[in-house]
């Protein structure tokens, strides 16, 4: 039973962090139709900046700088590199490939700077743990769940109650109609990218904190796990991203936790299990759990 609770908690904590990344994906996709392949390097950038500045500015100061800079970089990327084809949704696939180019450049540079080091982000939790009933949980994980919940709730509120959120949702529904109604598409889009960048920088803190040993050059690859999470929930649905992330986190933790009982699937299945779950879900619901049926226009 303890093991089961352990696994459940591991899964939830993992899922909460994936949710920050997946939410960024979804916001970008909703705003611009682009699949952001550079999300992993944005995440790494946020983590790296926190690691570099925490000695001088303290953890909170460094994190604030990292979040702001990463948001600015993401916004600049959208403004200067992705607007070449205008906001025409038909150019989204070209912009998707541009993000690959940007990813290569940022990742190369950060890898060169990080080298083989394991950078500490100076987070306040260290390796302390707390007992919750029968299970022992790392404080950083509790923090991850709390912070993710608060931030995600905040993003939902932004979506629902601000004019930006309304415009974003309107333009995601129908670009032309939104433009006719006076929605300033470019600004909406760039703000969405900034928000996604900020979320990625925040996620980096929890991905590099204990139980992980620190920030590595490969930390950004975790963004790949957010792909199935975002898809599972439905690419256009932020609540879906949350649900999908939790499902992916739980699947991964449970399959890894019970690896010895799942021999038939081959060892190490935990890492690919999220994808298997995703394909099964898509077979039943082709637009994800929370994705609505797309209206057909002729």
């Amino acid at each position: 039973m303890t093991t089961f609770l352990d696994n459940i908690f591991n899964g939830l904590a993992l899922g909460a962090v994936y949710a920050l990344v997946a939410l960024g994906f979804v916001i970008i996709f909703k705003a611009s139709g682009v699949m952001n392949f550079a999300h992993g390097s944005l995440l790494l950038l946020g983590g790296y900046l926190t690691a570099v500045f925490h000695d001088d500015l303290g953890f909170a100061g460094a994190l604030a700088v990292a979040v702001l800079v990463t948001a600015a970089v993401a916004g600049a990327m959208d403004r200067f590199l992705l607007h070449a084809g205008g906001t025409d949704p038909h150019t989204a696939h070209v912009q998707t490939i541009v993000t690959i180019g940007v990813d290569i450049v940022i990742l190369t540079d950060l890898s060169r700077r990080i080298g083989g080091d394991l950078l500490s982000l100076g987070d306040p939790w260290g390796d302390s743990v707390s007992g919750l009933g029968p299970v022992t949980v790392a404080d950083s994980r509790i923090a991850a769940i709390v912070v993710s919940t608060v931030v995600i709730a905040g993003v939902f509120a932004l979506f629902r109650y601000t004019s930006w959120g309304l415009s974003l949702r309107a333009s995601a529904e129908d670009v032309e109609a939104a433009a006719l109604m006076g929605v300033r598409l470019v600004r909406i889009r760039t703000l969405a990218w900034c928000l996604a960048g900020a979320l990625a920088a925040l996620a980096a803190v929890f991905l590099a904190a204990f139980p992980a040993p620190g920030l590595e050059r490969t930390t950004g690859q975790i963004a790949l796990k957010a792909f199935p999470a975002a898809i599972l929930g439905g690419m256009a649905s932020p609540p879906g991203a949350l649900a999908g992330s939790l499902l992916i986190g739980l699947t991964e933790a449970l399959v890894a936790g019970y690896q010895s009982d799942l021999h038939i699937l081959g060892e190490g299945f935990g890492d690919v299990a999220p994808y298997a779950v995703m394909v099964l879900v898509l077979l039943v619901r082709p637009t994800g759990l929370f994705g609505g049926k797309a209206a057909v226009r002729v």
Partner: protein, 432 residues
């Protein structure tokens, strides 16, 4: 599908096509007359000093190749090895070179990309006599057949038993399975493990992990222990789920054959969850950088490392001399096990080349022959190597280290080199 294109071809078009083909052939015949590739019947020959030469060897130079990773996941290891081997080449050249020829190392960085590595090999293979460094198991796997065919003596920086039994490829020191047999022996001998106990083994997917697991399973069976395996990927750096699973199995000790980040996470999580059991890692699972992470106290308390090489902080005269010159040549560079391993490989390559020179030929196949004729080479950096049986590891004895933040390379020797009981039996059982 194809016919749809050809149906509207008129006889005239067909005539043009055949004319085209004839013209192509004619042009080819004319053009290749001046091809530089024609009648270059290999560079095999005899030097002015009577030593037979081959690819990579001239009267003045001996060229060695390194297919390394300076920009990928093993960048730290790659850098240490490249610098250590360059240091060796400079030292050798200062003493007049080998066989009166200067030694040059051609370094190619593949960044752990198989396609880049294969292309880089095609690029340098005709210009080098041997490869004292190849990093990356998938790279090595992709090149195995080519290396065998070209008879390029190669020292991979990987220690899987699957690399044994090839004439031109030499695994230096012990293989991963032997290290893990020694690890199990260390646990039962010093940590009080007993019959019926369970040990966990966390291992990477791929050759490294599989080979290590083979060793631990064999040794555990002999000792009456059970092994609970946990396979992970290189991208897993949070091992909470694995620790939960191992705790459920009630393990009394844990073996880990992964990377440094995984070792740090495993030991840190286990300690924080009260699973305070001894942990023994394979050599690639530890790096000095770990002692700067929050997991450092737990690592110092729980971890040991099994390795075919001594710790860089060892008292061996050869190792101390190497550390001193490395510090002088590359001030500020970290001294880790990669430095020792690269320097050791280069030294051994040097003795092979010298032997080949004495035998009168630096042609590739003769370098391999010279290499296989050496059964007891000791370059003063650990234990002696025996290269005469390609099916067996070059050595069977291992050291045990433990982390120490203050020591050079952040590790110190705990046990000196010795062959664990059972290793001989294991090797015999494997070859039969």
């Amino acid at each position: 599908m194809k016919s749809s294109h050809h149906t509207h071809h008129t006889p005239r078009a067909m005539r043009t096509t055949s004319l085209l083909a004839a013209a192509v052939a004619a042009l080819l015949l004319a053009g290749t007359g001046c091809s530089s590739k024609a009648d270059s019947s290999g560079s095999a020959g005899e030097g002015a000093d009577g030593v037979k030469t081959g690819p990579g060897v001239t009267d003045k130079t001996i060229k060695l190749g390194a297919l390394t990773d300076l920009t990928g996941p093993y960048a730290t290891l790659g850098k240490s090895i490249v610098q250590a081997q360059q240091m060796w080449a400079d030292e050798v050249n200062a003493r007049g070179g080998i066989c009166d020829r200067r030694v040059e190392i051609v370094v190619k960085d593949h960044g752990y990309d198989v396609q880049k590595a294969v292309t880089a090999y095609a690029d340098i293979s005709s210009d080098v006599v041997a490869l004292p460094q190849v990093i990356g198991s998938p790279v090595m796997a992709a090149l195995l057949d080519d290396i065998e065919r070209d008879k390029v003596l190669t020292f991979p920086q990987a220690w899987a038993a699957s690399l044994l039994d090839r004439d031109s490829v030499q695994v230096l020191g012990t293989t991963y399975d032997i290290d893990m047999i020694a690890a199990v022996d260390f646990l039962t001998r010093t940590k009080g493990l007993d019959k019926g106990d369970t040990i966990g083994h966390v291992y990477f997917e791929g050759d490294y992990g599989a080979n290590a697991l083979e060793g631990s399973k064999w040794a555990a069976k002999k000792a009456g222990l059970k092994v609970a395996g946990q396979k992970i990927k290189a991208t897993d750096t949070d091992l909470s789920a694995q620790v939960s699973a191992l705790r459920k199995e009630g393990v009394k000790a844990i073996l880990i054959s992964a990377g440094p980040a995984q070792t740090a996470s495993l030991v840190g999580v286990a300690a924080s969850r009260g699973l305070k059991v001894p942990v023994v890692s394979s050599a690639p699972g530890y790096a000095p950088q770990l002692m700067k992470t929050p997991a450092a106290p737990a690592l110092a308390a729980l971890l040991n490392v099994v390795s075919a090489a001594p710790a860089v902080s060892s008292d061996l005269a050869g190792v101390r001399k190497m550390v001193a010159s490395y510090k002088k040549k590359y001030p500020g560079s970290l001294i880790d096990s990669g430095v020792l391993s690269g320097y050791n490989a280069a030294q051994l390559m040097g003795t092979d080349l010298k032997r080949a020179c004495e035998n009168g030929s630096l042609a590739r196949e003769d370098v391999v022959k010279a290499h296989r004729s050496q059964s007891n080479v000791d370059v003063g950096l650990g234990t002696a190597q025996n290269f005469s049986d390609k099916a067996q590891p070059a050595n069977t004895s291992t050291y045990v280290h433990k982390p120490d933040a203050k020591a050079v390379g952040a590790a110190v020797n705990v046990e000196d080199a010795h062959t664990a009981p059972g290793v001989k039996e294991y090797l015999a059982s494997r070859t039969s």
